[in-house]
Symmetry: C2
Subunit: 637 residues, 2 copies
Amino acid sequence: MRTGIATVCLSGTLKEKMQACAIAGFDGIEIFEQDLVTSALSPEAVRAMAADLGLGLDLYQPFRDFDSVPEDLLRENLRRAGAKFELMSRLGMDTILVCSNVATAEIDDDGLRAEQLGRLAQLAGEHGVKVAYEALAWGKYVNDYEHAHRLVETVDHPNLGTCLDSFHILSRDWDTAPIEKFNAEKIFFVQVADAPKLSMDVLSWSRHYRVFPGEGQFELDKFMGHVVRAGYAGPVSLEIFNDVFRQSDVERTAVDAMRSLIWLEEQSAKWLDAHDGGAAAGSGKVAGRRRYPMELATLPKVAEPAGFNFAEVKADDTAALEKLLGQLGFEFEGRHRTKDVQLWTMGHARVIINEQAPSHAEPAIAALGFDVDNPVIASARAQQLKAPVVPRKVQADEEVFQGIAAPDSTEIFLCQGSPDGTAAWTAEFGQAGEFGDGVSAPVGAGAVIDHVNLAQPWQHFDEAVLFYTSALALEPAPFAEVPSPTGLVRSQIMQTTDRAVRLVLNLAPLIQQEDAGQQDGGRKSYQEHIAFAVDDLVGLARNARDRGLEFLEIPANYYEDLAARFSLDPGFLATLKELNLLYDRDASGEFLHFYTATVGSVFFEMVERRGGYDGYGAPNAPVRHAVQYDHARRPPN
Amino acid sequence: MRTGIATVCLSGTLKEKMQACAIAGFDGIEIFEQDLVTSALSPEAVRAMAADLGLGLDLYQPFRDFDSVPEDLLRENLRRAGAKFELMSRLGMDTILVCSNVATAEIDDDGLRAEQLGRLAQLAGEHGVKVAYEALAWGKYVNDYEHAHRLVETVDHPNLGTCLDSFHILSRDWDTAPIEKFNAEKIFFVQVADAPKLSMDVLSWSRHYRVFPGEGQFELDKFMGHVVRAGYAGPVSLEIFNDVFRQSDVERTAVDAMRSLIWLEEQSAKWLDAHDGGAAAGSGKVAGRRRYPMELATLPKVAEPAGFNFAEVKADDTAALEKLLGQLGFEFEGRHRTKDVQLWTMGHARVIINEQAPSHAEPAIAALGFDVDNPVIASARAQQLKAPVVPRKVQADEEVFQGIAAPDSTEIFLCQGSPDGTAAWTAEFGQAGEFGDGVSAPVGAGAVIDHVNLAQPWQHFDEAVLFYTSALALEPAPFAEVPSPTGLVRSQIMQTTDRAVRLVLNLAPLIQQEDAGQQDGGRKSYQEHIAFAVDDLVGLARNARDRGLEFLEIPANYYEDLAARFSLDPGFLATLKELNLLYDRDASGEFLHFYTATVGSVFFEMVERRGGYDGYGAPNAPVRHAVQYDHARRPPN
C-alpha cells in the first residue's frame, strides 16, 4: 500500500512537515495549498527537497468552488485553475484535488456540471495534470460520492477521475459497497480519515474532530476492502483536520499517523480475508483473500494479553510505598539479585518497587508487564507499529523483557505468560528457594491486578488509544466523563474480551495538567493508580485497618445518598461506612472497593467483584476525585 | 431581582464554592447534589455556613427519573424522594428540582404522570417541601416546558410548581411568549443559561457548552421579559455546565457569573421598556415599563465609545519600540511632565510608550484608552459590573483617567472624547507649546487607530466577550477561526456600529500558551498588535522602507496565489510585492496592509481601507501567522 499524508494534518512550516513525513516513513504527501502559499520555499525548492527526502508529491489540494456556476464565473475559475496547473508543473506534481462546489454553486444541472468538468479536464490535459473530483459531504449540489463518480463517468476524459474520502462518505452513512463496481482507472486518489461518532453539523465535525484510523469509530476496514476490491492501487493518504494534531509536535504526530496506516493496512487485509472466501465460493464460506493490484503488507500477529504480569512503581524514597503495600497485606519477596528493585506480591498480583529513580522523584507508576503468548513476536509487531523500544539491562542468566514505550512514556513489557498465573522471573528475587511461588496470606490468595489507571496528557490521548489497540490488541470501550472539582475527567477503558486486562486511560482537566507544570507533554501531572481484585474485601480492609492503613476517607453524606439510592441491609451499610468502602450495583452484580491515600502521584485501590459486575464503580468516581482534591489542598500534617 | 447560581457552575469543594458565591454577592445558591454527597461537611454544617455567609439555599437539585414509571418503581422513587426531603429539612431547604424522566420512563400517559406527580407533591407537602418540575430538552416524554406546566396545572397542588430553564426552552426553539400566561404562583424557580448556537445533539451541547448570559446567542432578554410579565418574583439562578468554568478559578468565575446576571437584569428591563409601551397603548408605541413584582435594578448607562483615545505599550528597554514607531513615521511629541512615559503620534493615532516596566520586561501592550461621553458614568457602570479598578497616580493639574482591568489584565481607560479627535492630556507632554496638536507628517495626517488585537488566555475568553459587551457596549461579531502553524486561532471581533472601535480578541492555540509558560492564566503568551489606518499606505510604506523599517517579509508564493485569485494590474501587484504589502478585496471595497517585525510580544500593522471594506484581511492572516512562526524559530542575527 502506498502511504500518504496531507500536510494540513501536521503542525509547523512546510519544511518541518516534509521532514517529519520522511522520518516517519511515508511514501508521499499531499500539499495543502495554504502550506505552500505561506512558505518561504519556492516551488522548485519544495520539489528538490521532496526528491532529496524520497517523498512523492502525490496530490495538490484543494481547488474549491469550480462547478455549477454561470459561464462568466466558470471562465474565471478556468483561469484560476490554469494558474494552479502551471504552479504544479513547477512542483513536478500531476494530480490536483477539486472539491464539489460549496460557496458559489448556482445551477443544479448535471449536464452543465459534466460540461464544465469536461472543460476543466481538457485544460488539465493540456498541462499534463489529472483532476481528482471529490464530493464534499456538505457540497451544495454534489455531496454523494456516487454522484461525483457518475459525473466522472459521463465526462469520460482521461484527465478526470474521482477522489474518495472516507470522511465525506462515512459521515453521511453512505453505503460503501458500490465502490467495488467503480472502474479503478477512474479512481485517482483515496483519502482516509476516522472520526468519533458525534452528532453535530458535518462541517464542524470534519474541521475539528477527525482522527487517524483506529482512533475513531468509522468502519474503515470495510471501506478499504471495497476500495481494494475495486482494483485501486494508488496512494492511501491521511487527511485529518484535528485541533490537537495541529498543535502537537510534528514528528511525533507523523509517527502516530504512520502507525494508523500500518494498522489500517492490516485491518483491511483481515476484512478481505474474512469476506473474500465467502464471496468467491458462494455460500460455502472459505476464508482467503483473492489477489488484488494493491499489495497489503502483513504484521506479526498478536492475541489479546492473558493478564497483567506485574506493575512497577518507582521512587527515590520508597519507604511510603513499602509501608502502603505492607499494610494492604502484600508480602515482601526480596530484592533482585542484580538490580535495586524489590518484589512485593499478593496472590498473583506482583508489584515491583524500583529504587533507581532520580533524586527527589516522587512515587509514580513506571511500567506495566503484560502476559502474551510470544513476547518476541509481540515486540516485533509493536516495533513495526513504530513503538519506541525500551532497553533494559539484563545479566546472562536473567529473563529478557521485551519493552516498548507507551505514548505517555509508561514502559510496557511483554512477558511470557504461564497458565497458572506465576512468573518465572520472580526466582531472580530474594534468597534462592526462600520466597517460593509468591503465594501469601490467605485473605489475598486469589488476588490479581484488576485494572490500572493511567493519566494521559491531552496531546497524546488519541495516540494512546491507537497504541494500545494496535500494539496490544486491547479494545476501546465507549468513553465516559467523570465530574471532578476541577473539571470533567475523560475516561477511556481499554480491555480484553475476557477482562483479564483492564486499562483505564484518564484525560485530566487541562488546568490540572498545567498546575503540575508539565509543559513538555510529560505525564505524572495527575494521580494514577493500580487496583487489585480480591475475594474478601471486607476481611482485607479490616486487616489493613488493623495494620494502620490510611484509607481515603469517604464523607458521611455518601453513605446517606447510598441509602437513598439502594435498599441496603443496615448492618452492611454500617460495615461499608466503618471501613470507608464504596459500593455499586447493577443488573449483573455488585462492586465493593476502597482507595488508599496517595503517595507521590500513586495510590492503590482494592476491589471485590460480585457476580458479573463489569464496571469500575463509576458513580463513586466523583467522590474519590473530590476527596483527593480536598486532601491535596490541606496543609501537610 | 434575586440572584442565584448552581454550585455545579464552579470548581472546587462545596465550601470553596459557597465562599466564592458570597464574595461575588449572590443572594442564594442551588446545591447540586453531587457537591453535597462528595463534601466532608454535614448538612447541618452547610446550613450554618450558608447562614454565616448570608447565602440563601434556594434549590436542591436535581432529582431525576421520577415520573412515567410502573407502580413498583414509583414506590421506590417515592422512598428515594422521602430520603432527600429529610435531608433537605436538615439543610433547611424547601425547594427541590425534579427533572422530567429521561432514563426509566416507560409509560407515556399524562393522566398517570399527573397522578404520580400528585403523589410526589403530597409527600413533599408532608415534609414542607416544594417540588419544581422541569422539562429537560431531552426528556423521554416530557421535553416541552408548556407540557410540564400543563401537568402542574392538572395536579393543582400547592407543593407542585414548574421550573423554567432558558436552556431547555431556547435550545429547542420553543416560543417563550406563552410564559406570560402562566400563573406566577405556579412558577417555583427560574434558571438562566446562555449558549452559542451550535448544531449538535442537545445533551452534549447542554453538558459542555452552556455559558453565562451575554456570552452566547440566546435571546435571554426576551425570555426574562416574559417571565417578569408573568408576575414571577423569585430567584433567577444560573445553571451553567461548561468545561472551562468548571476548571477555572472559582472566585473569578463567580464574579464573571454575577456580572452576567447584572447585565441580564439591565437587558430584561430594556426589553420591557421597549415592548411594554406598545403593548399597553395598542398601536401607539409609547415606551415605558409597567410595574411588576420583580424589581429590576438599573445601571449607569453607557453609549458605544467614539474611538480609541490611545494605546499604551510598556517595556523595560523601549529603544526597539521607539525605533519602530519612528520608522513608521510617528512623531515623538515628548515625555510626560511627571511620569516616565513618552508620547508618539501620527494624525490622531496616539501611542504611549511606558518606561515604568519591571526589569527585563519585554515590550507588550499594557493599556488602551477609549473615548466615551462621560468617563465617570462609564467607570461607575464598569464598577457595578464588577470590573476591578486600576489606580493611576496623577498630579493635581493633570487629567484623571478612569481605569478598569480587562479579564486579560489589559488596563482599559475611559477618556473624555472630543469632537475633533484631539486629546487634552497631550498638553502634559513635552515643553509647553513646543509640540502642539500632534498633527505630523502629511502622509500620516489622517491616521487613526484602526483596530487592536489582544491575545486572550483560554480560561477567560468568554469572560472577555461579556466584559467588553457589558462594560464598553461593544458588539460581538460571529467568531472566526484562522489556521496557524501551531493550530487554529479563534478570533472574536468586538466592534461599534460605526466601526470607530474595532477590538479583536484572539484565543491562541493552547500549545502556544503553554510554550510561553503562562501557568497562571496570564496574558502575553502570544503576539498582539495595534493597527493604524492611513490614507496612502503605499506612500507610507515607501517612506518607512527608506527609513530602514523591518517589514514582515511576505513569501513570493503569496503573490503568485494572489495573482491566481484576483485579476490584478501587474504594476500594482509588483508594488505590493516590492513593499511586502498584503491585499484583500470583497464586494464592498479593498484592503491593503503590512506588518512590522515583532518586538517582545508586540508588532504593528498599517492598513488602508478603500471603499466600504469592513474586514481585516482574514485570508492573509494565515500568511502572517506562518511567517511570524518561522521568524520566531530562526536563530537571532
